[in-house]
């Protein structure tokens, strides 16, 4: 059986389409787009955790830093964090907040320099949470260590206790804050592991996205509890080191190449 007559028929029909009909089709397509778009958007939102749903300990969010890929002269992660969380510099380095910083570590014996981002390590047993008198420093069950800005009294004991120098005290009034990143004079703050993005379902942090955009791939965000996640697979295959592992804090941020 030949398919030739059918093809001819189709071509005939195509030739018959008038300009009016083409416009009508385009209109219908646009209408369909307008009708479907909110549905598609809703579908995306459904991927994120609804506000009334508690976070779960089934996840433990963490980060893997591959220092072999981290470039000494690159601070894309720092800029991205500042941009994402509205950390505007006030021109006073000693008191400006820094949630993530580039740390260079030089071996005195060999002179070898390793460059890496340093931020809150989101410990399983965070000293900042232990010492906080009001419980404002807390650890979510999914492993993210945060500061409750409503109950932080600004005593700075957590800054004394943090082994990673990861926290900043807000030394002056702030303006132009971002809605998803509330900050305030007199409170302590630190890396939130982009909790707003995590809760939104982005499954990534601003620093890791920026690092990937630069093509360095030194930062990998993921679920340490999920054996199928990329971060778990890489850690299983290549291993990872905790900074100040001697303190037994079981950090959520692990490093390779140190």
């Amino acid at each position: 059986m030949s398919t030739e007559p059918v093809m001819r028929y189709t071509l005939d029909i195509t030739e018959d389409i008038s300009v009016e009909r083409r416009n009508f089709t385009q209109g219908i397509a646009a209408l369909a787009g307008l009708t479907l778009a909110p549905g598609v958007f809703l579908y995306c939102a459904a991927e994120a955790k609804p506000d009334d749903q508690a976070v779960s300990s089934q996840q433990r969010w963490g980060m893997l830093v591959n220092t072999n890929n981290c470039q000494e002269d690159c601070d894309a992660c720092v800029s991205a964090c500042n941009e994402e969380n509205g950390l505007w510099s006030l021109g006073r380095p000693a008191t400006d907040a820094q949630w993530i910083r580039k740390l260079n570590v030089k071996d005195r014996q060999t002179g070898h320099v390793t460059s890496m981002p340093m931020m809150c390590q989101h410990c399983e047993h965070p000293p900042c949470v232990d010492v906080c008198p009001t419980g404002a420093s807390f650890r979510r069950v999914d492993g993210i260590v945060l500061v409750n800005k409503h109950t932080c009294i600004g005593c700075r004991y957590c800054m004394m206790a943090c082994p990673y120098k990861a926290r900043s005290f807000i030394h002056e009034p702030l303006q132009d804050q971002l809605p998803h990143s509330p900050r305030g004079k007199g409170c302590v703050e630190s890396c939130t592991l982009c909790v707003h993005k995590v809760d939104r379902g982005d499954n990534n942090t601003a620093c890791a996205e920026a690092c990937a955009k630069e093509g360095h791939q030194a930062l990998l965000f993921g679920d340490l509890n999920d054996p199928e996640s990329e971060i778990s697979k890489r850690l299983e295959q290549f291993g990872g080191t905790q900074i100040r592992a001697d303190l037994g804090l079981n950090t959520g941020v692990r490093y390779q190449g140190i």
């Binding site: 910083r101 010492v131 004394m160 007199g186």
Partner: protein, 403 residues
């Protein structure tokens, strides 16, 4: 001893009101300084993200430590049964409460959010020694007030020993808590040491007694009451023992650190090349705060003069402030070690000695807290019978000093 009579001081003199006015002015200026810090933010102070606790904490911790130590004189009479000290017990307890209140006011006003004091008083994390300290401080004021009541109300005198014992145990726990603020800091090279708790207890003995001696001498000199040599001699020797004990604990702390290679960095910083901290340690803490007072107390003929006891107490206070400056600020100035044995550098002052110089606002806040403590004592002795009318050898039935 039963014949010792207590009375309020005469508060009608111009001298009294000038003193009270000066103290009130100091307290007001301290409050205004704290208010300015609160409005502008801590960037106007010398504190930053590297040195997060500054001069206000030095003064506050000094006052809190001295508060528990000031109670010792009362404890010696009530708990250890040395009746010679009994006439001093009331002032000892009043001074303890006053110093603690002064210290706590400084701590609260230095908070980033002092307006949230109610949060600190109602929401607790019981794993935090800070949270425990809030209970210990409030409890200390309450127990010491009850102790005072037992001492001052004739009908309640039979409970004095029990109340004194409770206050003594409480004060030991309180200073353990204060020392543990630093002892429990696992990550810092200069802290994370169990000896911090007993070190702070023995520091409290010394600082508290020094403050007590000065307040006692001033209040008796300015009210023209008799203060005998015998009681002053007892206090003098006691202060000498406490100074030597603090010196011993400081020695053990540093010797232990010096034995462990991992602590050589911070020891070198404090003892050899830490600039202001090394200077304060050797010159202010050890020489001016320990060696000179010990000489004034134990070496003849220096120790024959009443003024030399005052000077020794003053130097102990100066040395104590220096010691706390070295512990609190020096301990933070030494860079945090993330990678032992490596050189660290970053935009966030990793591997760099923290820079700190107290601002005028911090100093005024500290002085303000001291003024509040002294106001409580000054008003207290004018409205209630804290001071014996005479502490002469004859009134106390003590043997005159023979040396």
């Amino acid at each position: 001893m039963e014949t010792v009579r207590f009375s309020t001081i005469d508060a009608r003199s111009a001298q009294y009101w000038v003193l009270l006015g000066l103290l009130a002015f100091g307290a007001l200026v301290g409050y205004l300084a704290a208010h300015h810090m609160d409005v502008e933010g801590h960037h106007i102070t010398g504190m930053n993200n590297q040195i997060v606790w500054g001069f206000p904490h030095v003064v506050a911790v000094f006052l809190i430590v001295a508060a528990s130590g000031a109670l010792n004189v009362a404890s010696i009479s009530s708990v250890f049964g040395k009746i010679d000290y009994k006439p001093l017990a009331r002032l000892s307890a009043l001074l303890a409460i006053a110093l603690l209140v002064g210290g706590l006011i400084i701590l609260v006003l230095d908070l980033g959010r002092p307006d949230r004091l109610i949060v600190a008083m109602t929401v607790y994390n019981f794993k935090s020694i800070f949270a425990w300290n809030i209970f210990l401080y409030v409890g200390f004021i309450f127990i010491t007030a009850v102790y005072l009541w037992m001492m001052m109300e004739r009908k309640m005198n039979r409970f004095t020993r029990s109340a004194g014992f409770a206050a003594f145990i409480w004060r030991l726990i309180l200073t353990t808590g204060t020392g543990s603020i630093f002892g429990f800091l696992v990550a810092r090279q200069a802290y994370d040491a169990a000896i911090m708790a007993p070190l702070f207890i023995i520091m409290s003995f010394s600082f508290g007694l020094a403050v007590f001696i000065l307040v006692l001498q001033a209040s008796y000199a300015w009210t023209r009451r008799q203060l005998g040599d015998a009681i002053m001699d007892k206090l003098r020797v006691l202060l000498g023992i406490f100074i030597a004990a603090v010196f011993y604990f400081v020695l053990v702390y540093h010797l232990t650190n010096l034995y462990a290679t991992e602590h050589h960095g911070v020891e070198r910083f404090i003892l050899v090349d830490g600039g202001i901290y090394t200077f304060l340690f050797w010159v202010a803490q050890i020489f001016i705060g320990s060696v000179v007072p010990l000489a004034l107390i134990f070496v003849k003929p220096l120790n024959q003069s009443r003024h030399m006891i005052s000077l020794a107490a003053l130097l102990v206070i100066a040395g104590g402030l220096a010691q706390l400056y070295v512990i609190i600020i020096g301990g933070q100035a030494y860079p945090l070690v993330l990678f032992p044995g490596m050189e660290e550098s970053s935009s966030f002052f990793d591997g760099v000695v923290g820079q700190y110089a107290p601002s005028i606002f911090e100093i005024l806040l500290g002085v303000g807290g001291v003024c509040v403590a002294l106001i409580i004592v000054t008003v207290g002795i004018a409205i209630l019978e804290f001071l014996p009318e005479s502490l002469s050898d004859k009134a106390l039935r003590l043997d005159p000093v023979t040396s």
